[in-house]
């Protein structure tokens, strides 16, 4: 205690006090301010639990206060700041296994294995949301594909998403090894969050670009297309003419030539 008392008049003390005050009011505001959906359920406990998990798993790249961490190599960062990205971004990034990022690469890939429980992810999300407001996890209803209009969603999808993700959502290449992934098997909530938060090279589709209804229609379209059997037979990965041409050259031609050779051998 003595040491602290001795430094009471240290010039930095005032700055620290002001900062503490600011953070406190910020946190207070965040706690009291009206929040969409289920944000109110975030208790101080879960935020604290989230902070612990964050420090253990994420701080090495995103900094201890989620303020981001520079690599000291130009503009490159170990991880960007997460202040203000919202609970939705955390839910998307962790729920699809992208975070915590394991290997640095051009793009954090989707992982099949999720190492965190829903509860832990939610806690970290609450912690990030407690730092500054951001988009929240959408409600069940907002992402219910049965409530959307698939045909309308299809038109929206072709205009807004198909140039990167392909008209069947099969995925596509971007520059320098980056890619827009295939959208099959992505759960509705994550589709919504992807649009809302715009991960990596994907643009953010805020409610002004695509309203909540638009987003739900797009989800309805993706889920309808995904769940209906392909009327034409095998789809060859929905990759279009390249896959079809390859199939014609390798498989169809191979089969026909095999038949020709067989017939040629059958001398009369």
């Amino acid at each position: 205690m003595n040491a602290l008392a001795a430094r009471r008049r240290h010039p930095a003390a005032i700055a620290i006090l002001i900062m503490l005050g600011l953070i406190l009011t910020g946190a207070l505001y965040a706690a009291v301010a009206p929040r969409p959906a289920d944000a109110g359920t975030a208790s101080a406990d879960t935020v604290e639990m989230g902070r612990g998990l964050f420090l253990a798993n994420c701080a090495s790249c995103h900094g201890t206060n989620a303020e981001g961490l520079k690599l000291g190599d130009g503009d490159r960062v170990a991880g960007p700041t997460l202040v203000g990205v919202g609970k939705a971004a955390v839910d998307f990034q962790m729920g699809t296994g992208r975070m915590p990022m394991t290997v640095p690469g051009v793009q954090a890939p989707r992982m099949d294995e999720i190492k965190f429980t829903e509860k832990e992810i939610s806690a970290i999300g609450d912690y990030i949301a407690s730092l500054a407001p951001g988009p929240n996890v959408p409600s069940e209803e907002a992402v219910d594909p049965t409530k959307g209009d698939a045909a309308r969603g299809g038109s929206l999808f072709r205009v807004n998403c198909a140039m990167c993700h392909n008209s069947a959502g099969a995925g596509g290449a971007l520059t320098r090894g980056k890619y827009a992934p295939s959208l099959s098997g992505v759960i509705p909530r994550h589709i919504y969050e992807a649009m809302e938060t715009g991960p990596q090279n994907m643009p953010v589709f805020s409610d002004r670009n695509l309203s909540a209804t638009d987003k739900r229609d797009i989800i309805a379209f993706l889920k309808t297309v995904e769940n209906q059997p392909s009327p034409g037979g095998m789809t060859l990965g929905s990759l279009g003419p390249v896959a079809e041409g390859l199939f014609a050259w390798v498989f169809a031609l191979g089969l026909l030539v095999a038949c020709a050779i067989w017939l040629g051998k059958k001398a009369a």
């Binding site: 051009v106 698939a150 045909a151 309308r152 969603g153 299809g154 038109s155 072709r158 205009v159 198909a162 140039m163 990167c164 993700h165 392909n166 008209s167 069947a168 099969a170 995925g171 596509g172 290449a173 971007l174 520059t175 320098r176 090894g177 890619y179 827009a180 379209f221 309808t224 297309v225 209906q228 392909s230 009327p231 034409g232 037979g233 095998m234 789809t235 060859l236 929905s238 990759l239 279009g240 003419p241 390249v242 079809e244 041409g245 199939f247 014609a248 050259w249 498989f251 169809a252 031609l253 089969l255 026909l256 030539v257 038949c259 020709a260 050779i261 017939l263 040629g264 059958k266 009369a268």
Partner: protein, 570 residues
Amino acid sequence: MSTSTTSRPADGLRDEDTTVSAAAPGAAARKLGGVAGWVDDRTGSAKGVGYLMKKVFPDHWSFMLGEIAMYSMIICLLTGAFLTFWFVPSAGHTIYEGSYVPLRGVSMSEAYASTLNISFEVRGGLLIRQIHHWAALMFVVALTVHMFRVFFTGAFRKPREINWVIGSVLALLAIVEGFAGYSLPDDLLSGTGIRAMQGFVQTAPVIGSYLSWGIFGGAFPGEMIIPRLYSAHVLLIPALLIGLFSAHIILVAMQKHTQFPGPGRTNDNVVGFPVMPVYAAKAGGFFFIVFGVIVLISGLVGINSVWVYGPYDPSPVTAGSQPDWYMGFADGALRLLPGWLEFSFLGVTLSLNIALGALVLLPLVYTVLGVYPFVEAWLTKDKREHHLLQRPRNAPTRTALGMAAITIYSIFMFAAGNDIIAIKFGMSINDITVMFRWGLFLLPPLVFWVTKRICLSLQRRDRDTVLHGRETGTILRSPAGGFSERHEEISAQDRWTMVEHEPVATLELGESVDSNGVAAPDSKTLARRQKLSRFYYGDAVNPVTPAELDQAHHDHHGEAETDAIEGGRH
């Protein structure tokens, strides 16, 4: 059971062969007193039919590649006729109310709506569409490999150059026909294709925009392009295709089919089966096999699932927008051409970055293809008729040139799939493009060189086998203690295929300067021609001559040769 059609001196060698006295079908038919006789009385067709029926076709699987192309085309014609019953070639606006839920209520063109209707409402319609499209792909695949066969075996040489040219035009028409068909359904992909085509047309210097205006009957896309493409696709080009194809087949019948060299097969006969009954049965059966395979594939594997792409609308595009494979090379060229080839001066833009790939490459490919036989004949000064095929190794320079050309084409073609390669192999699209650009310049010479070396080595091995027999792997020990390998003489049949081809030599064009020291008037051309000839034949390996063979036999006292392991080879 083989017969030869013509009676030429070579037939004397084959006196003992049982000849099938195929009675003229006309006569046979009349004996039956049947319909054929009735028709013949009125049309006199028996003679022509009899001539065709007695035609002899040699048998080799590679001669059936052309048939695969022919049958695929016929399948396209049949299924295409079926599609016309329901397809509406109109850009007219409509709202989809059919059974495909994800598009219900979406506004689209009548062409697209009717394609959806064929796919989902018309019974068997989707299968027919898929047969039509798979057969279209197989048509171009098969005619391409058919062309490879003709090229690498030298079947295009005199007197068949005209048929080669006809074939090249057919190949060009086939891809134009395919492109027109691909553009008809007016889905996002075909619309993007038309849009690209419009871009190509516009890059034509000076006249570009007028040309585009004319083709589209106004601004892009307008309402004219679909009906126009439709006329071209179902009327104009099919008529040309059928006409040229008939000429192609008639020429084959008139000039007789080429054959691979073999004992008893000469430049003056054709050894094989007569059309009736053997060949016709085989060919007829093969039609059903090809049809069956294509239907099977169409039943199992979807193609051009237009409902996935959605209706065409000029604003969206989809990732993975590619043309059908046969147009890929032009698309690939566009992806490889660097952007700095676009020049702007005096307010005029010259888009060489597009024009080179679109307006120059396509005609260039088919022109080079068409003129090749004449170029080869000119620089080898070969004016004789050829009815015997060459083994590719016996024409090393041609084989190597062909492989290099295929390499160039393939690089362009694969470049069109650079984005698909990038996602499937987790590579950077930029790196792939750079790789292809380098490959375009480095690979063809490399492939040329490697192919030529392989051909020459194979020829040398043939020589070796003829002169010294086949290595048996049996090791002998001589009384003196030396080891040697026994070589076995090859059969006369096998030897024939290794020595039958003609020896070649570079052109000796004589003095370019006459005795008075005056340069011959065309000495420059002569010199150039000689240089080309040297390029073609310079390092030729010629077949073993009878004298060489005798000499070799003499050396070994007519015994099976042995190859001493100690003391090296002789």
